[in-house]
C-alpha cells in the first residue's frame, strides 16, 4: 500500500511540475508573442524604430518599374545608406501617375537635398533643372544626359562606345556567317535624346565601315515610342506584321530592355526564330533565357549597380565640395551564351540609355 501510494505521489508530483513549467512557458510565450505582434503592427503603423538621415535624395525616372531602374536604385540605396543619406525612387508610392516634370516640381518644392534624374530632351525639364539649381538642389543626370541643362554631372554609358560595341558585334556576326546582304534595323528608344541616337548610329556605322562591310550591311533606324503605354510593343509588332512588313530585317539592334524583350517575344510569336537575329540590351531573366535558347545573339549589359552608386557619389561630392566631375562613364559588358554564367549575379534589365 505504501509503495503504491508513494508511486502515485511521485506521478502527481511530476505532473504538477510539468504542468507548472508548461504554465510558466505558456504565460511567457503569450507575453512575448503579444509584444511581438504589437511591435509588428507598430512597424506597420510606422510607430516603430525610424532612422533619420542627414540628406534626402530623390531619383526620378519614367520607367521606375523596370528591373533596370530597380537595380540602379538598389545601387544608389547602398551608397546613400553608407553616407547617412536616404534616396527615394520618387513617385513609386504615389497613387497618381505623375510625369517626370511633376515629380521634379514635387522634389523641388519638397526641398530635397539632391536629384538624380533620368534625362530627356524636354525644355521643361531643362527649366526645372535650372529652378532646382537656383534653389540650391544639385541635379545629376543618369543613363541619359542633358548637356544643355544645369545638371552638375552625368552618370551613364558612353553612346559612342555602345554604338561601337554593337557595330563590332554586327560585323563579327556577318563575317562569321558569310552573309552577303544584311538588312539591319536599329531600334532607337524615344527616351534617348536625338544626340545620343545619332552618336550610336554613327558609331555603328563607323565600326561597319572600318571592316569594309558597308556594302554588305544596310543600316536603318526606327524610333520606338516608349513613353506611351504599350506603344513600343505595337510599333515593334508592326515591323513584322504591319503594312511595311515586307522587308523584315535580318538583324535588329535593340537599345532598351523593353525593346529587346518586345522584339524577342514578337520573333517567337511570329515564328521568325532563326530568320531574325537580335542584338539586345541589358539582361533580365527573360533576356537571359532567350540568350540561352539562341534567340537573342548577344546583349550589352550595363553595370546598373555601379551606375546607382556613382550617381549618389556625385551628388554627395557636389554637396561637400561644390564641384564634381561632369561625366562618369559606366562600364558595359557583353552577354552571350558563352559568357552568360558570369552574369549570374546581375539583377535587372534595362534601357540602353546612352550619352555621347
Amino acid at each position: 500500500m505504501d509503495k503504491k501510494e508513494k508511486k502515485g505521489n511521485k506521478k502527481i508530483l511530476i505532473a504538477t511540475v510539468v504542468l507548472g513549467t508548461l504554465l510558466i512557458f505558456t504565460v511567457a510565450f503569450s507575453i512575448v508573442f503579444f509584444f511581438m505582434r504589437i511591435k509588428s503592427t507598430q512597424s506597420l503603423l510606422d510607430t516603430g524604430d525610424i532612422k533619420t538621415y542627414d540628406n534626402y535624395y530623390v531619383m526620378i525616372t519614367d520607367e521606375r518599374d523596370t528591373d533596370f531602374w530597380r537595380s540602379v536604385y538598389a545601387g544608389a540605396q547602398e551608397e546613400a545608406e553608407a553616407n547617412n543619406a536616404y534616396i527615394e525612387l520618387l513617385g513609386e508610392d504615389l497613387d497618381a501617375d505623375l510625369s517626370k516634370q511633376d515629380l521634379l516640381r514635387i522634389a523641388i518644392s519638397s526641398d530635397v537635398d539632391g536629384i538624380i534624374l533620368d534625362g530627356d530632351e524636354s525644355d521643361e525639364t531643362v527649366e526645372l533643372i535650372q529652378k532646382a539649381t537656383d534653389e540650391g538642389i544639385p541635379v545629376v543626370t543618369i543613363s541619359d544626359d542633358m548637356t544643355d541643362s544645369k545638371r552638375v554631372s552625368y552618370i551613364g554609358v558612353s553612346s559612342y562606345n555602345l554604338g561601337k560595341e554593337y557595330g563590332e558585334q554586327l560585323a563579327a556576326y556577318v563575317k562569321e556567317n558569310g552573309i552577303s546582304d544584311c538588312d539591319v534595323l536599329v531600334l532607337m528608344d524615344e527616351s534617348l535624346n536625338s544626340n545620343s541616337q545619332s552618336i550610336i548610329f554613327t558609331a555603328i556605322n563607323e565600326a561597319i565601315e572600318k571592316r569594309n562591310l558597308s556594302d554588305v550591311i544596310s543600316l536603318n533606324s526606327q524610333i520606338v515610342n516608349s513613353n506611351k503605354d504599350y506603344a513600343a510593343e505595337e510599333e515593334i509588332r508592326d515591323i513584322f506584321v504591319g503594312e511595311d512588313a515586307k522587308d523584315i530585317p535580318d538583324v535588329i539592334i535593340c537599345l532598351s530592355e523593353t525593346n529587346t524583350t518586345c522584339v524577342y517575344q514578337t520573333v517567337v510569336d511570329y515564328n521568325k526564330v532563326g530568320e531574325v537575329e537580335i542584338f539586345g540590351y541589358y539582361i533580365s531573366p527573360t533576356i537571359r533565357s532567350a540568350i540561352e535558347k539562341d534567340i537573342i545573339k548577344s546583349s550589352i549589359v550595363v553595370d546598373t549597380n555601379q551606375m546607382g552608386k556613382k550617381s549618389v557619389e556625385a551628388v554627395n561630392e557636389y554637396k561637400q565640395s561644390g564641384y564634381v566631375s561632369e561625366i562618369y562613364i559606366i562600364d558595359t559588358q557583353l552577354a552571350t551564351k558563352e559568357t552568360l554564367d558570369s552574369f549570374s549575379g546581375e539583377g535587372g534589365d534595362g534601357d540602353a540609355k546612352k550619352d555621347e
Binding site: 502527481i12 505532473a15 503569450s30 507575453i31 506597420l44 503603423l45 538621415y53 504615389l94 514635387i106 519638397s110
Partner: protein
Amino acid sequence: MQRKMNKVFANMPIRFKLSLLVGGIMLLILIVNVILYYNLNLFTKQMDEIYVGNVTLNELEDSLDKVQSSMAEYLNTKSTDSLNDYYLAEQEYNKLLVGMEYKATDNKLKLMERNIYNMSQNYLFLTADTIEAKRGRNVEKYKDYYDQSTLIYSYIKTYISSLNNSRFRANTESYTALASAVAFLELFSIIMFVIMVAFSVSLVILVTRNITQPLKELSYAADKVSAGELESAPQVKVHGKDEVGVVTEAFNQMVSSIPGYLTRLKEGMEKEQLLKEKEILMEAHLKDAQLKYLQAQINPHFLFNTLNAGSQLAMMEQADRTYDYIQDVAAFFRYNISKNDEVTLKNEIELVDTYINILNVRFSGDIHFTKEIEDESLLMVHLPGMILQPIVENSVNYGIRDVEWEGKITLSVYGVDDNVCVSVSDNGVGMKQEVINTILRAQHQFV
C-alpha cells in the same frame, strides 16, 4: 534546496498549508487573468491608434482645401471675408502641420509626411505671395503664383491621398494582424486556463495527499494496535512538525510505552496471584494444624482414660506400686497437656518429682534426687511452665545416665535479695569448658 523547502513545507501547520494553497491558486488565477487582460488592453489600444492617422490626414486635406478655396475666392472677389477666411484657413493649416515629420527617414510614410510638410510650407509661401500680388493688383504675378500654388496644391493632395491610402493599407494589415492575434488570444486563453486548472487540481491533490498521507499511515498503525498487534505495529514516520506530526509523535510514544505498562501490570497480577495462593496455602496449613491440634487433644484424653482405667484396675488388684506408677504417668502427661502458661515453682517441682518417680520405676531407683528448699514461701513464685523438668531430664540423659557410680541430682531453691534462685546440679560426667562456651555462644546467637 528542494529538501530544505520540503522540510519547511512539512513543518508548516496544516491550516497554514491550506491557506497557502488556496491563496496561491487564487493568485495564479489572478496573474493569468491580469496577463490576459493586459494583452487584450494592449490590443484595444493598438486598434484605437490604427485609424487616428487617417483622421488627421483627412483633417489636413480639408484644411488645405479651405486654404485653396479661400485663396481662389479672394482672387475672384477680393472680398475681405474671403481674405479673412484665407488667413483663418492658413492658420488652421499651419497648426495641423505642427507635429508632422519634417526630417528625412527610412520610413516611406514618414517620408511622405516630410514631403507634404515641405511642400505645404512652399505652398503657403506661394499662396501668401499670390494674395500679396493680388492686393498689389499685379495681375501677371498673381496668376503665375496662383498657377504654381495650384500645381503644388494638386501635388499635396496627391501626396495626402497616397499617404492616406498607404496608411489605410498598413492599417488594414495591422487590423488583420491584430484580428488574427485576438483570435489566437482566445485560443491561447483557453489553453492557458485549461493548463492552469489542471495545474491547480494536481497541486491540490499533491498538497492534500501530503497532508493526508501521514494520517493514513497513522490510522494504519492504529488499526494494527487495535487489532492487538502491538509488537508488529510500526513506528509511524513523522513527516513534519505540523498538527499530524504532533499527533504521530504522541502516538509513537504511546505505542512504545504500552508494552512496558503491560509487563508491569502482568507482573503485579502475578504477584497478587502468588499472594492469594500463599494465603490459601496458609489457611490450609492452619486448618491442618487446627485439625492436628484437635486430634492431639483427643489422644491424651484417651490416654488419661486408659491410664485411669489401668490405675483403677491396679487398685482393684491391690497392686499399689503399679497404681502409683500409673498415677504418676497420668499426672505427668496431664501437666504436659494442660495449659501451663504460668505456674508456681511448687507445681514445677512437683512435676520434677513425678518425672523422677517414673524414671526410678524405669531404672529401678538408680536416680537419687534431693531437694533443698530454703523457704516454702519461695515455692509460690510464678514462672513459665515446663522449664525445670527438661533441665532435670538433661541431667539424667547427659549427666548421670551411663556413670558407674551412684547418680545424684540435687535441686536447690533459695533466695538472694529479692530474687528466687533455682539450681539443678548432678554428679554426672560434667562438661568441658569449651563445650560450655560453644553452647552458650550458640544460645546467644540463637537469641
